[in-house]
Amino acid sequence: MAAQSMKIALAGNPNVGKSTLFNALTGSRQHVGNWPGKTVEKKEGHLRLDGEDIIVVDLPGTYSLTAYSIEEIISRDFIIHERPGAVVAVVDAANLERNLYLVTQILELETPVIIALNMSDIARNRGLTIDSQKLSQSLNGAPVIETVGSSGIGINTLKAAITQTAVALDRQPTRIPYADILEKEITRLQAAVQTITGLTHQYPPRWLAIKLLEGDEEIRQRLSAYPYLIEAGNEGAARVEEFTGEDAETLITDSRYTFISTLVSSALTRPREIVETTSDKLDHILTHRLYGLPIFLLLMWIVFQITANVSAPFLDWVDGLINGPLTNWTIALLAALGLTGTWFEALLVNGIIAGVGSVLVFVPVLMSLYLVIGVLEDSGYMARAAFVMDRVMRIIGLHGKSFLPMLVGFGCNVPAVYATRTLENESDRKLTGFLVTFMSCGARLPVYVLIGAAFFGAQSGNLIFAMYLLGIAVALLTGWLLKKTVYRNKPPQPFVMELPPYRMPRLQTVWRQTWERTGGFIRKAGTVILASSITIWLLMALPAHGDYNFNQVPPEDSLFGVVSQTVSPIFAPAGFGTWQASGSLITGFIAKEVIVGSMNQIFIGEETAADENAPPPPTFTEDLTFIGTSFTQATILTVQEIVNIVPRTVNIIPGLNMPEADFLGTAAESESTTALESALTQVFSPLAAVAFAVFVLLYTPCMVAIAAVRHEFGGRYALYQIIYTFAVAWVGAVIVYQGGTLLGLGG
């Protein structure tokens, strides 16, 4: 009917399943998390209803529409200025009372409201019965619909309600009744507002009157052209305070909660007064003042065991796939085309397959990391980690909530920088943003896995765990230093955060999240890493000096080799002053994912010639059988590694020695080392390899993360970060190498 697409908005508290409902309505995919403040960006999707296109806008999750945070201002400005056809207020049915607070504020904006009682299954499981008809009646007939976003229940009813609400323009807005003294002032202010048509066109007059009485800073600024209105608001608030002894803002909040509590007491029945929920009982243990922190560390240890060891069999499988069949088939195909021995073959096999392939090998590692992080997030534990870590974060003048962006940083630093937006205080944000880049992101993990496998075998999980701990320690130390210097004289910031109830992680959500995050990695492999692989290959094929032809040059005489050679003395004190090591580090500025890929190109490039008298390549059928049997084997080994987490965890305790499972009887055999791993052992000593890993952990974050820091905190700030991280990394690596040498570990 309408020429322009109608807009509807989704509003709600953080953690009410708004994103899931958004997906269910629009069919589009987006990130779904389980800790507060995840939805920061504005998201749009399309919904087709009766042949009409409707734009669905996902507003940021907020608890209120006061002007105390960017998200709140975004949300209320959208409702005021964009005038959506309807606002779907997504409400956690299992936390009705608190959630309705936001709803009262949306109602006051006099926009058509539909209430989605989401997660109604959880409410029902807890024995809560909500009379949605009664609720609807008390809200002047605003539709109230029970939904379960994750399983699509109620979505069709919701869609029908959207169509109806959008055409029904005659409904009276629900008026939240305020205490008499407030109503008197509101009426007075409303009358004053209504004399100015410029304002009544833009804002609902009653809402503006309430905001003036509340002393809403942002509205005052906007109304600076009408100083007498602001003055009238101040006078009204002063009269209220004089009369009641309480300030107007508090009384307004009280009135809203009184309204809500009347509403809830008539519409909600609970079985009996449940004092302690199962979630509370879990909290007695998991957030305990004494064992909360050890439990957190134990969980983290298990996480890194899973990422390091459990994914290893599949890592080997993918590796075998790329270096075996895929490479063989490519070579055979090129031979059939008569391209054997050409530069094109070199580019494809040594450049692209070696470079991109060696990064793709780590897809199983990242998938398992994202899988466990997803489980922790969706179960509700992540928010508890913030509470448990609060006392550690205090040391550096931050509170527990700052730990959440850091945990996100374990996945990727870029969203971690943006996740600092959930912090209210500006300098908290900056400090946290500075520290998150020390959190070891998924892209750095392959380097540790590689070094761990090459030098430490079954103990590689310990190296990886140590790297993660070191990242946290350096972040804490940096924070402590900054607190003593730049951020001196700063009072500690208030900490308050909602804890979602514990629940069984939903496979669907966790899987989608894992897949999305891994997908991001694979896309990077297809773009950034592909481009840098080609560039590195090219630089390695171009001779810098001597009488070499293109693609015939030994690596150390190539352009790449010469540049890396020039840089390498810097790293000599850290024990890896070789051109190969510095070359890989240079490429890591682009993206940390690239490091392993370029190492492969650099180190393996020298080795290809050594394979002259290799056995004839397997036939196509042999290859297929190999893929199948090795997959089965990898699956069995993965199960074995999961089982082995138990003995490995028990064995941390000195004196205990629980045997590990060995399903295929292969544990005694030395693990097959890849070509890259054996090449590494020739260039690095074990100690230098550890120093190298430390450097990779700490040094300048990738371009994308720097861009994010610049975007959020400014260019000067990004520059400090580049310099500081590089310096810290160098010092850290030198300390490890020199210290280790002094202790006699240098051999």
Binding site: D280, R391, P491
Partner: protein
């Protein structure tokens, strides 16, 4: 609901795990108090202390179904009293 004048008020930090107390006053103006209000901590309500941390941070049960983690600094500013009926 409104406590008698004789009952003592004290900062939330002094409450122990398992206690139920009612909110008397938030000794702050503006932003912080509004934040607490938005999260359901308004004057007159009862809260139960679910957990305490060694640094004075707390987990509170608010309005039956909501759980909030709250820092020591904030808890110091929240004045409470034991709810007479639930002693």
């Amino acid at each position: 609901m409104i406590p008698t004048t004789s009952s003592q008020t004290f900062p939330l930090t002094f409450a122990a795990r398992g206690d139920t107390v009612s909110l008397i006053e938030i000794r702050d103006s503006g932003r912080l108090r509004q934040r607490l209000n938005d999260l359901g901590l308004n004057i007159g309500i009862s809260v139960r202390i679910v957990q305490t941390n060694t640094n004075g941070a707390l987990i509170l049960a608010v309005k039956n179904d909501s759980r909030l983690a709250i820092g020591h600094g904030m808890a110091q500013k929240i004045m409470v009293t034991y709810t007479p009926s639930e002693a």
